[in-house]
């Protein structure tokens, strides 16, 4: 049996989803009441799925490790959410959003999934507005849009620099409504420890109550993993401190294939690393690239002078600045996709043009945007013959309206005022395109186990476009999974309640307890962070923006040795029967240390460059990613065999029938 049947419906691309929905089996309201679904994670994907499933009548149990579902890390998304509304009349359409997403992903995503995503994108905006999400509006009262990287239309809806928060609060409100009705049982401060598979079907989970330490069994007819991505492999990233891959990794160990783990997005504009105790990196939204111009000095001496503090950015004349994205990519300029912008920043810094003490930063400069928008504002306000100082003052007000909270965040962290001096930024890990392999129905290779949002691999290929993560999370949770899961559950209506008193639950529980005992009882000498930082360094050095064969092989070895050292030498203080954050961290890192090896292995096997995955051996003459469509136009789906380094590769061939596959160009 081909275990990688993507189950893509037949028929023309634009009719696949409609036809598929028409053919899916339905479940009557009375029967829905007898079916239980577990959803792990309460971000945009998990929260919207749980709320919608509860609205439909299923009994939902929803889990999050935070103290409230409202804190899931979707909350931190800044810039916006894409939708093919064409409100701006600039030529946008479902097809164009589909095309941009496939192209942006460097032709490594599934046509049918991406088309469906583009198709439902409009509904998302309608739904969110109906829920009271306060999107930005124009003076006429209609919704405003801005543009994002890798596209030439304005299709991004936003709420200042807090779009993720506002969308998540919409989801949280929908969840609350169902919790209030008693249709969702909410488990805050609970961590999923394992999936329970009975007779080949996902039938529940083992969870740990993070306050009391109690290990609990929860059964269901289906389990949905919506636990986000695994970027915290890198230790430093824009992820939340608690973001982890454990739910997905446990699912992988129970039979769910993990797809394209090496596809990891390094976002070009984060605040650079400051000191040795740094615990996380803060993103500066891609939306800033609408107005900010990225540059480094043209001359090495100037770069050196800036690093040493003898020159300030303002001392460098415009002619002595290298606006390298505008120079290299005139068609898209500062709005090239993230992978392209990240590589270009690294290339300039590696060549010696970096602008902070570490040499790992470039400028993001708002001076010309401040002047331009100040002038426009003066015109609109009917001010004549205004001086430059007034224009700049007006311009700063416009910037504040658009990006006020981002500028404030920057100011607080770096202690420099971005209204007066350019921001310094550098790429960092931000989003993982890889994840659990799912078919068109968003089901993993384990029947009854679904994966949605960032936790699955679908839709973004080898590189995600800005403002598409929020779109995918909500598309999966609101508009796709609620249909497809019904089809799966329709043959389960006679099953009745799943008991937790089975040997499968027994075994899963005792295995979880065993692992915890091992961690707590270990007489080591280093805290969890010691190992996590070590792992992060390996990942950044060998598995980051650029990779090569030798480095990846070395990474696999090094990761294995850190893993061994971790199990020998980690200290986990306290007991298992109390609030114990170190214990939670240790469990998460144990899983990262396995996933990391598979990540490196996947990167090693993919002997091509595509999107965010740049193998130094495979580049065009001018340093662009060189794909190999003959050998690698596939999804690499890995099967767990007991050791992450020995995972077995399965390939899902990617077929493009509606789009011409070509070399990606943003020049």
């Amino acid at each position: 049996m081909n275990r990688l049947d993507a189950k893509i419906p037949d028929g023309p691309l634009s009719e696949k989803w409609t036809n598929h929905k028409n053919r899916l089996n339905l479940i009557s309201p009375a029967n829905k009441r007898t079916l239980d679904v577990i959803v792990v994670g309460t971000g945009l994907a998990g929260g919207s799925a749980a709320a919608t499933l509860a609205e439909l009548g299923y009994n939902v149990k929803s889990f999050c490790f935070q103290d409230s579902p409202r804190r899931a890390h979707s909350v931190a998304a800044q810039g916006g959410i894409n939708a093919a509304k064409n409100y701006q009349g600039d030529g946008d359409s479902v097809y164009r959003l589909f095309y941009d997403t496939i192209k942006g992903g460097d032709y490594r995503s599934r046509e049918a999934n991406v088309y469906r995503l583009a198709e439902v994108s409009s509904n998302i905006i309608d739904q969110c507005v109906a829920q009271g999400v306060p999107f930005a509006r124009e003076y006429g009262g209609l919704l405003d849009n801005r543009s994002f990287g890798g596209v030439q239309v304005s299709r991004t809806f936003y709420a200042k620099g807090q779009t993720g928060q506002q969308l998540l609060l919409g989801v949280y409100a929908a969840l609350n409504r169902q919790i209030g009705r008693g249709k969702i049982q909410m488990f805050n401060r609970h961590e999923m420890m394992d999936v329970v598979v009975i007779d080949g079907r996902a039938r529940g989970i083992i969870s740990r109550n993070l306050i009391t330490g109690a290990i609990e069994r929860h059964s269901a007819h289906a389990v949905v993993i919506a636990s986000g991505g695994y970027g915290n492999l890198f230790y430093l990233s824009t992820y939340a401190m608690g973001s982890n891959a454990s739910a997905a990794w446990k699912a992988h160990r129970k039979g769910a294939f993990l797809a394209n783990p090496c596809f990891n997005q390094i976002h070009p504009t984060a605040i650079p690393v400051g000191g040795p105790n740094q615990s996380k990196l803060t993103l500066m939204s891609e939306s800033l690239r609408n107005d900010g111009r990225i540059w480094v000095p043209k001359n090495l001496e100037d770069a050196k002078a800036i690093r040493e503090g003898s020159k300030k950015p303002g001392d460098i004349e415009d002619g002595d600045r290298d606006y390298y994205l505008e120079r290299q990519y005139p068609a898209f300029g500062n709005l090239v996709p993230r992978d392209v912008a990240s590589r270009a920043a690294k290339e300039r810094c590696d060549a010696g043009y970096g602008v902070n003490v570490t040499g790992q930063a470039v400028f993001l400069d708002f001076a010309s945007a401040i002047y331009r928008s100040g002038k426009e504002k003066a015109n609109v306000s009917g001010l004549k013959n205004v001086d430059d100082a007034t224009i700049r003052k007006l311009g700063k007000e416009v910037m504040k309206q658009k990006y006020g909270n981002l500028f404030q965040m920057y100011h607080k962290i770096v202690d420099q005022n971005p209204y007066e001096t350019p921001m310094k930024i550098y790429p960092t890990t931000h989003y993982t395109m890889g994840g659990l392999w799912v078919d068109y129905n968003l089901m993993t290779t384990v029947p009854g186990l679904f994966a949605i949002g960032e936790a699955n691999f679908s839709d973004h290929g080898a590189n995600r476009l800005g403002a598409s993560a929020l779109m995918q999370g909500l598309a999966d949770g609101y508009f796709i999974l609620p249909y497809t899961i019904g089809d799966y559950l329709s043959d389960d209506i006679g099953t009745g309640k799943i008991t937790t008193a089975s040997t499968e639950f027994e075994e899963a529980e005792s295995e979880v307890k065993e692992t915890i005992k091992k961690l707590i009882g270990n007489e080591g000498s280093h805290p969890v962070d010691y190992f996590h930082k070590k792992l992060g360094k390996i990942m950044w050095q060998y598995c980051g923006i650029n990779r090569n064969k030798e480095g990846l092989e070395r990474a696999m070895k090094k990761i294995r040795s850190v893993r061994e050292e971790f199990w020998e030498n980690v200290i986990v203080p306290g007991t298992a029967e109390e609030f114990n954050e170190e214990l939670a961290k240790a469990g998460r890192l144990a899983d990262f240390l396995e996933l990391a090896e598979l990540y490196a292995k996947d990167a090693l096997f993919r002997e091509e460059s595509c999107g965010a995955h740049l193998r130094q051996e495979f580049q065009t003459a001018d340093g662009e990613a060189m794909r190999n469509d003959v050998d690698f136009a596939h999804v690499a789906a890995w099967e767990y065999t007991g050791d992450p380094g020995d995972a077995r590769l399965h390939k899902e061939k990617l077929v493009y029938e509606n789009i011409e596959v070509k070399q990606r160009s943003y020049k």
């Binding site: 709320a51 935070q66 409230s68 579902p69 409202r70 804190r71 890390h73 909350v75 931190a76 509304k85 409100y87 509904n123 905006i125 309608d126 739904q127 507005v129 109906a130 829920q131 009271g132 306060p134 930005a136 509006r137 124009e138 006429g140 009262g141 209609l142 919704l143 709420a159 200042k160 807090q162 993720g164 506002q166 929908a174 609350n176 409504r177 919790i179 209030g180 939340a240 401190m241 608690g242 400051g274 000191g275 105790n277 615990s279 996380k280 803060t282 404030q408 965040m409 607080k412 962290i413 202690d415 508009f479 280093h526 805290p527 962070d529 200290i571 203080p573 109390e578 609030f579 954050e581």
Partner: protein, 248 residues
Amino acid sequence: MKLTLKIWRQKNPDQKGKLVDYNLNDVNPDDSFLEMLDTLNYELIVKGENPVAFDHDCREGICGMCSLFINGRPHGPDRGIATCQLHMRRFKDGDTVYIEPFRARAFPVIKDLVVDRSAFDRIQQAGGYISVNTSGNPQDANTVPIEKTVADAAFDSATCIGCGACVAACKNASAMLFVSAKISQLALLPQGEVEAKSRVANMVKQMDEEGFGNCTNTGACEIECPKEISLENIARMNREYLKAGVKG
């Protein structure tokens, strides 16, 4: 720089807590406040002691998970930020820093600096939403234009991150700023009008049941709110509450 920390340690909700002294000799001014605590915890773990439990997650001031009452102020001395955005450059060499949990009857301590803020969730569950199901065909998002100033005002109310600083700052441990921010957001928007009356009645009822105090217009909440939510929200909530009480 050198710091003396006086940190609230409490094993669990049932045991009594107390302030314990810790000395840090080499604090980097560019570290964030939570990174300073990470460093302390690292040292404690290596010494075989129990680390200080505190809540945190996004560390960029938006998830609302971090709390801490620092030198008598929720989220510390700076305005308009959460604890995770506070940096050590704000303190001086030789300073003594008091670190306590957010205190309120409705926020029981779980451990050390971690408190239970689930009362906030329950208030939202009582009515902090618009009753609209997910539908594949709602009306187009641009069908009802909303004046920009109104949309912006609704956004300003909606920026609340639900951290609880308003409660911790208030001498009455009132949750009015938190509750009124949600009520205002939805009351300002046309979508929220239909359920306006039942929403304010139910949310206020739940707020009272959770044991939060009343508002006496001191305004400490507005000063300490990391998102600078305005007191006007409380005034609007009171108006909405009055309207809901008028029959007809």
